[in-house]
Amino acid sequence: MSKHTLSVLVENSPGVLARVSGLFSRRGYNIDSLAVGPTENPLISRMTIVINVEGHPLEQVIRQLDKLVNVIHIAEVIDSKSVQAELLMVKISATPKNRFDVEAVVETYEAKIVDEDATSITIEATGDTAKIADLLSALERFGIRELVQSGLIALERGSVTLSERTLSTSGIPIANGVQADYQN
């Protein structure tokens, strides 16, 4: 499998998303999904990037990414050692006849109906990539009219945190980033 999930701590500064996405595009790396948002530290944002590294060794991708001055730390997220989720919103065609069936699917996947009217139902669901894919195929027969999906986000299991591993308690980041993780 050439898919990898990277957790990337970046400085919360203007242009950082452009730097990261520009790097991926100019070096020909494929991004499957990218989710970015604030963290517990207002100076730092966290990106979760799912990449397809066919033809480019993961190590090279990480080293190029680490060269960006605003990138503080990169760690690969291992599926079995992490919790992962995507957010899905999907609008399906609904009739009084199939409403009951839709509700059954929604319940099975612990999804939620967040909006409905006479001809449509909007469903919201979270879960890992496989669960979201399964839900979508279960909903297909009702007719998917529109869907929107977030990138994957992930967090390591257990009490370890990436931020603590990277940043000193005073909040002044000191660790030397990816080298520590990837050279041993």
Binding site: V10, E11, P14, G15, A18, R19, G22, R26, P57, E59, Q60, R63, Q64, D66, K67, L68, V69, N70, V71, I72, H73, L167, I172, P173, I174, N176, G177, Q179
Partner: protein, 474 residues
């Protein structure tokens, strides 16, 4: 107590604090506020005729002195004219800081007069860049820019400053420390890697030092000389490393690659070990990677971890400043050689025999005219090893790299990675206090104490030459 002043004065004070003595540029609307304090400062501003010249002049200054070269331009077209020299400096790892004016912050994003998103444009080929809209950020940005440009693998940094940030009141305080949480170049090599490298070298019977521009940047030429003589292995120097090892030294086989000597190319191809120092396995050196030095193991020392394993697998990767790396390798190798010194006599004999059988040469025109190679060779002999040689891009660049004998680092300036015709813009010559020889195939109207050979060629030689080669290949 810090005194109130405008952003422009803070900028100039910052540049002074960063040690800038000269900068190259052209004024214009958005950067104009900075020009008043420049004239009152200790910094010498050299007015050029095109911003590209300012950028290359800054590059040349940096390549000769080892200091950060500085150029300055206005917003929009002034800034976009710096794109080529910035890309050039990125390719050749030259420490450079470019200051550009930007339209006032309220106008950014409105397609205002002379607005160009120079930060966005230059992201791919600056080491880092800034857009400053708050005058209080100016000293920190300038301090960081000089730190980033000159440390680790050197490179260009651009600081774009909105006009109103130059005009507004601020206070100046030069930062005492730099806090870049994501920037920690590794200078000291791992001792385990040094030991592995020393061990691998003692097992090699056909080692070659493959020396790149990093050795010059790290001022590691003395250390290289020691290391090379300690092992007694042949040395090749790339286009960016000409002068890193004396051309007159017996162990030197010349330049490898597409325009290299037979001995240097063969040495790399036949080697069982490449001791790669500050070089990056560029395609002009390797040709097709799958057929490059197929029997060689690789020790790859570079300050940029991303270069290691990028084009060629490294059996022993060493991340660090190449001066520190070589300095650590010398005692480690000394010790290892005491136990086991490989016999390199037959390897050296082969290489020396290639060197004498296939020396660099050129045809003497039958009609009695003087060949351009001869002119360059003579210039090199007359001007000697202390002159600084500057080439443009093309055939004369290759001749100048081949037929001048370089003995010292920082005496050979050219555009290697980007191959920028116009690099040797006449403006660049202004930077030098030394006598220099200026080899170019183009006419020039310079009237300064500089020798400019004009090689009378009716065509772009390199294109002809490559076309010929192309015909032969097809």
């Amino acid at each position: 107590m810090s005194k109130a002043m405008n952003g422009a004065t803070s900028l100039v004070k910052s540049l002074e604090s960063a040690g800038v003595d000269v900068m190259f540029g052209i004024p214009g609307g958005a950067i104009l506020p900075a020009y008043d304090p420049i004239f009152d400062s200790s910094i010498r501003h050299i007015l050029v005729r095109h911003e590209q010249g300012a950028g290359h002049a800054a590059t040349g200054y940096a390549q000769v002195t080892g200091r950060v070269g500085v150029c300055i331009a206005t917003s929009g077209p002034g800034a976009t004219n710096l794109v080529t020299p910035l890309a050039d400096a990125a390719m050749d790892s030259v420490p450079m800081v470019a200051i550009t004016g930007q339209v006032p912050s309220a106008a950014i994003g409105t397609d205002a007069f002379q607005e160009a998103d120079i930060r966005g444009i230059t992201m791919p080929f600056t080491k880092h860049n800034y857009l400053i809209t708050n005058p209080d950020d100016i000293p920190r940005a300038i301090a960081e820019a000089f730190h980033i440009a000159s440390s680790g693998r050197p490179g260009p940094v651009l600081v774009d400053i909105a006009k109103d940030a130059l005009q507004k009141e601020t206070t100046f305080e030069w930062p005492t420390s730099i806090n870049l949480p994501g920037y920690h170049p590794q200078l000291t090599p791992d001792s385990g890697a040094i030991a592995d490298a020393a061990a691998l070298i003692t097992q090699s019977s056909k080692p070659v030092f493959y020396v790149g521009g990093g050795v010059i940047k790290a001022n590691a030429n003395r250390e290289l000389l020691q290391l090379a003589e300690l092992l007694g292995a042949p040395v090749v120097t790339t286009l960016m490393a000409r002068g890193a090892f004396p051309d007159s030294h017996t162990l030197h086989l010349g330049m490898p690659g597409m325009h290299g000597t037979v001995a240097a190319v063969t040495a790399l191809q036949k080697a069982d070990l490449l001791i790669t120092l500050g070089a990056r396995f560029d395609d002009r050196v390797t040709g097709k990677l799958s057929t490059f030095a197929t029997n060689a193991k690789v020790i790859h020392a570079d300050i940029d971890p991303a270069e290691i394993g990028k084009n060629r697998f490294a059996d022993v990767p060493i991340v660090g400043d190449v001066k520190e790396t070589i300095s650590a390798l010398i005692p480690a190798l000394k010790k290892a050689l005491e136990k086991n010194r490989p016999d390199l006599t037959s390897w050296l004999r082969q290489m020396y025999s290639l060197r004498s059988t296939y020396p660099l040469g050129y045809d003497t025109p039958a009609d009695g005219s003087v060949s351009p190679q001869y002119v360059i060779e003579r210039l090199g002999k007359i001007a000697g090893p202390d002159a600084i040689y500057v080439a443009g891009v093309g055939q004369h660049q290759m001749w100048a790299s081949q037929f001048v004998s370089y003995e010292k680092p920082r005496t050979w300036l050219n555009s290697g990675g980007l191959g920028t015709m116009g690099y040797r813009s006449r403006l660049q010559l202004l930077i030098m206090n030394h006598l220099e020889w200026y080899a170019s195939g183009r006419r020039s109207s310079m009237k300064v104490a500089i020798q400019i050979p004009i090689l009378n060629q009716s065509a772009y030689q390199i294109s002809q030459c490559l076309q010929k080669r192309w015909v032969v290949l097809v």
